[in-house]
Amino acid sequence: MSAAPVSPHAAVAAAAGAPVLEAAGLSFSYGDRQALREVSFSIGRGEIFGFLGPNGGGKTTLFKILSTLVPSQSGNVRMLGHDLKSESHAIRPRLGVVFQHPSLDGKLTVAENLAHHGHLYGIAGRKLRERSAAMLERMGISARASDLVETLSGGLQRRTELAKALLHEPELLLLDEPSTGLDPGARREFNNYLALLRERDGVTIVLTTHYMEEAERCDRIGVMHRGELVAIGPPAELKAAIGGEVVVIHARESEALKRKLDQRFGLNGTVVDGTIRIERPRGHELVAAVVEAFGDEIESVSVGKPTLEDVFVHLTGHQFFSAEARPASESNP
């Protein structure tokens, strides 16, 4: 296994050369409901790749297929040089999986959980003890080795989960919503572990997330919406594609106001879930003019550099969190 540290740029370049994971035309449906539509992507060795999308966008289905839990229905996936459907026995020993719901047994100790995992992967005896001790040391949980998992905090359980998934030294690590249920501090810490893992061991990391800040830290992201992969690229590039700034206006009569604005300023705004959005270079200058002209009809105006949330809205015409409560920490300043 190559242990050379890989810079984000090198990783992106590698995506074109030596893909670790490649999907073409992947589709999946549960009865009538199509969960994935013709999804295609390619992920290079040493890359940190995130699938970003709201809940119900198809991420979890994709994760289940990639982790070999569910056989794909149509399309091809090659992982670590093997066909995912027919050669999963060759892939599994080299694949690490971190589930959204803990796959730890709460009635067992940290060390026992790791030992059972090792045995399933054919690791036993002294090799198991050494690796397990080293992994616990690395994750900073050595002191809790003989505590029952159910007595650990959420953050420590996550670390145990990661220690378990890494025990057999996988080349590719899959994580489903890794930071769900973690407070911001623990979330940052967890992401630092992932970055370190890539730097030190050259592990390829593929995760699903609905947190913008987590997606920001990936080398590349794939934006998912209603089972489709609507965009793929480095976060900075996706944001740059919008251009300039994003002006968001809340108004009582948004449709009517949008028409007036379009007419008056020659804009091409859109109304998304009752708010007017205008993507425009030098958007802050527009704000002054808009408030001047239509001040009484406006409830609030905000302007900012495009975020990944703006990218999502731009691509899909839908608010990212329209279906869920919008966390305060993720609103624009």
């Binding site: 289940k64 982790s67 070999t68 839990l69 569910v70 026995h89 599994r92 020993p93 694949l95 999986v97 589930f99 719901h101 803990p102 796959s103 730890l104 047994d105 009635k107 067992l108 026992e112 030992a115 059972h116 995992h117 045995h119 399933l120 992967y121 054919g122 036993a124 029952l148 378990k164 998934a165």
Partner: protein
């Protein structure tokens, strides 16, 4: 092959460890049948006169092997019930993506459940003198063998259900509709001899009846007061072995086909 043995051993040992750490489960699976035995055995003793039974066979004694099977049934069910939740958001998720085949997983689970049931069954065996049964050493050995086979079959049936359904509520419904009737109609609760013909036939077709018969027989092994109404030992034993093998194969194939969603 060596790898598969290690995998089976680790899954088996996990079940045993969990069991040791859940006292209430241990006590529940033991106490409930004990109460059944004492209340039903005591209450029905006066009115119970099995046709063809030697004089002096009381219901406490008749019901005793039936309660042993009930202990095995309850423990086997508790051992498999965790499979349902384990698969969706627990330990089993990690097992399902590990380099292990589904039949190997099922073997580990089945042996785990069998061991737990057997521990409970052996504890219950200590109460034999209360039923008026005096066990010889040979009887103890034979009874443990039969208990292991029956427990393995019952755990496998539990696993067939657990791998097929998605919620534990579903499991309780199926338990009441299938598992309890299988037990009731195995000769555990009443003998076939006095029952109407259709019931007698149902009991004859019930594979558990033979495990029950083998158990009755093994308890009296070497004793002169053998319950004469029981059939021979070898035929029920052979059917019980076949029953265990068949239920395991069924569980393994159900697990193989089960989607992990």
């Amino acid at each position: 092959m060596n790898g598969a043995l290690l995998q089976i051993a680790t899954l088996w040992w996990r079940e045993v460890t969990r069991f040791r750490r859940q006292r209430s489960r241990v006590i529940g699976a033991f106490l409930q049948p004990l109460v059944f035995w004492l209340l039903l055995g005591g209450g029905l003793s006066a009115s119970f006169r099995p046709p063809g039974a030697p004089a002096g066979t009381n219901y406490v004694e008749y019901f005793y092997p039936g309660v042993i099977v009930l202990v095995l049934l309850f423990t086997a069910i508790f051992a498999t019930i965790s499979t349902v939740e384990d698969r969706k958001q627990g330990f089993l998720q990690g097992v399902l993506v590990a380099p292990i085949t589904r039949p190997t997983i099922v073997m580990g689970q089945a042996l785990g459940g069998t061991t737990l049931a057997l521990i409970q069954g052996v504890i219950f065996l200590i109460l034999a003198p209360l039923a008026g049964i005096h066990l010889t050493l040979g009887a103890v050995a034979a009874t443990i063998l039969i208990m292991a086979l029956v427990a393995f079959a019952l755990t496998s049936i539990g696993l067939v259900i657990a791998w097929r359904i998605d919620s534990t509520q579903g499991f309780h419904a199926i338990m009441n509709l299938i598992l309890i009737p299988i037990w009731l109609l195995s000769g555990a609760f009443f003998p076939a001899s006095g029952a109407p013909a259709w019931l007698r036939w149902t009991m004859r077709l019930n594979p558990l009846s033979y495990g029950m018969a083998a158990l009755r027989r093994s308890l009296y092994l070497g004793a002169t007061t053998a319950a004469s109404s029981s059939p021979g030992f070898m035929m029920p034993l052979a059917i019980t072995v076949a029953f265990s093998a068949a239920t395991f194969i069924l569980a393994a194939s159900v697990a193989k086909r089960a989607a992990a969603t």
